[in-house]
Symmetry: C2
Subunit: 305 residues, 2 copies
């Protein structure tokens, strides 16, 4: 069986997209319970200025807590070198920086053009190397941008190569806008892997238009081994324009387990973790088909056929 | 570009699964509007005793109406030879009979074991041939059955071969229970096509556990050229156990068009047809991500990259 890493990004991508602030104790309970269900990597928060994203202010405490869980890979997002230094100091196993393939989006979001971002990536890489920490670059808006429209695949390939030269140790392709379709996923994964090889491991998909799992399948076919997802699809109504609509961890794990991939995750135990979210975030909608549709056939029975 | 036939089954599979009865005029408006949006095949109803399914009582009138629409392939479901004779008399282009791969389900549903069903298929085939009408067999519960559990793939292959010998001109594989996963779809499509070849054209998928489009993608990879779907996912809440949760036509067309398949369907025009359903079936929920998520990038722009 091929092992696939399901990387839970809800505590970062989910919580930063909603207004409610989840208390530290609830975040800890969430992380503990998901790790107990078999999740092996969790993005616990981001090292941005607390004034900008108060939901993420307790990220250093969360990193320290998550590091006490055996076998869990603790990662965090950083916007720049300053955040990277804080992340290393807090004790993350790995950090990642988003690098928007749409220069308009990059300028709007972090006020940096592509050369300035590549310089920042080099600076973050140096900090990560010095701290003995893994460093990934998320190629965001790789499948299109609401501001620029189509993002040329040549641009994505060129910037991935440049980021690898600047010191990126791993890449994800991110469908920030929910524009990706399976044919495009296959084409772009193939093209980027042709240049940076196995450094491209990850897809970060949104289910905005319902194609999330189909896009995940397309990526798996092309050698993707890590998929980001958010428990309960937390962080955005998939029906609302502009909303995040992360891939739902429960549905992704159902599909992977049913297909015979080795995720190490117990689906029933994973679904039970939703109660922590429901209690800590009253009124916040949770998504996913799997939790309510009832169990599929037993996996062992399926595999035996 | 590869052409893919999207077969609208909402007027049959959707309407037979809900309690409301849609008036004939609304059904006609629906069929007319979907054909105008470019849909080339519609299953307009089923030839079952009206006492059993009053929602389907106007199927003969609907067939006569749909036959007046140029270029539209008009198909209907029949449970047995009696229904087939009525369908041919009404003037369908094609008819299909469900053949449950789970013998328990077959006995429960139509009180026939597998040999009895094969005899019925032979009788229906004779009626279809005599009437100059196309005849498809739907291999239902092919991916598992809520009563029997796993359905052996060997059984599906063996019964498909037997049905072909009995006169079936075309096959669909039906995920009646929402149990299919993409790996299973690939395996089973490959195995059945190895025996009956291009007679297997179609997948009839349910989105009960959110895997509908991923399963459709898996089928396309294995040479499937027709996909059944229901406008607005009519006919079942995908969140409710046992509900039909048909593949949503709008989401399927979005995916196919975005991937560069030729469907002939104008997505905006298709989405507009939802208002007919909403007005004729007040209170009946409609599903799908595409209608509310807003447009993707323009297809021409995507293809140009």
């Amino acid at each position: 069986m091929t092992a696939i890493l399901v990387s839970e990004v809800g505590p970062r991508d989910g919580l930063q997209s909603i207004k409610s602030i989840m208390p530290l104790a609830a975040k800890q309970a969430w992380i503990r319970a998901e790790a107990a269900a078999g999740v092996r990597e969790i993005e616990v928060g981001s090292f941005v200025p607390p004034a900008l994203l108060p939901q993420m202010a307790d990220t250093p405490e969360l990193v320290a807590f998550a590091r006490t869980i055996p076998g869990l890979n603790v990662v965090a997002l950083v916007p720049n070198a300053k955040g990277a230094a804080r992340a290393v100091e807090a004790g993350v196993h790995g950090l990642s920086i988003p690098f928007s393939m749409s220069e308009t989006h990059s300028l709007r979001n972090v006020r940096k053009d592509h050369p300035a971002m590549l310089a920042e990536i080099a600076a973050v890489a140096a900090i990560a190397r010095a701290g003995g920490v893994h460093f990934a670059v998320g190629l965001s808006t790789a499948f299109g941008c609401t501001l620029e429209g189509a993002v040329p695949e040549d641009t994505v390939v060129r910037l991935a190569v440049a980021a690898a030269e600047a010191g990126a140790m791993e890449f994800s392709l991110s469908d920030t806008t929910g524009y990706a379709d399976p044919a495009q996923v296959r084409r772009l994964v193939r093209r980027v892997r042709a240049e940076v090889g196995d450094l491209l491991t990850t897809l970060h998909l949104h289910n905005t238009r319902g194609l999330g799992l189909a896009n995940a399948l397309a990526g798996l076919d092309e050698g993707i081994t890590t998929l980001d997802a958010s428990l309960g699809g937390l962080g955005g109504c998939p029906y609302a324009p502009g909303a995040s609509g992360n891939l739902v961890t429960e549905d992704l794990v159902l599909m992977l387990n049913a297909m015979g991939y080795e995720t190490g995750i117990d689906l029933d135990q994973l679904i039970a973790v939703r109660t922590i979210l429901a209690e800590a975030l009253p009124g916040e909608p949770l998504y996913g088909f799997t939790p309510d549709a009832g169990p599929m056939l037993d996996y062992a029975e399926r595999i035996a056929r």
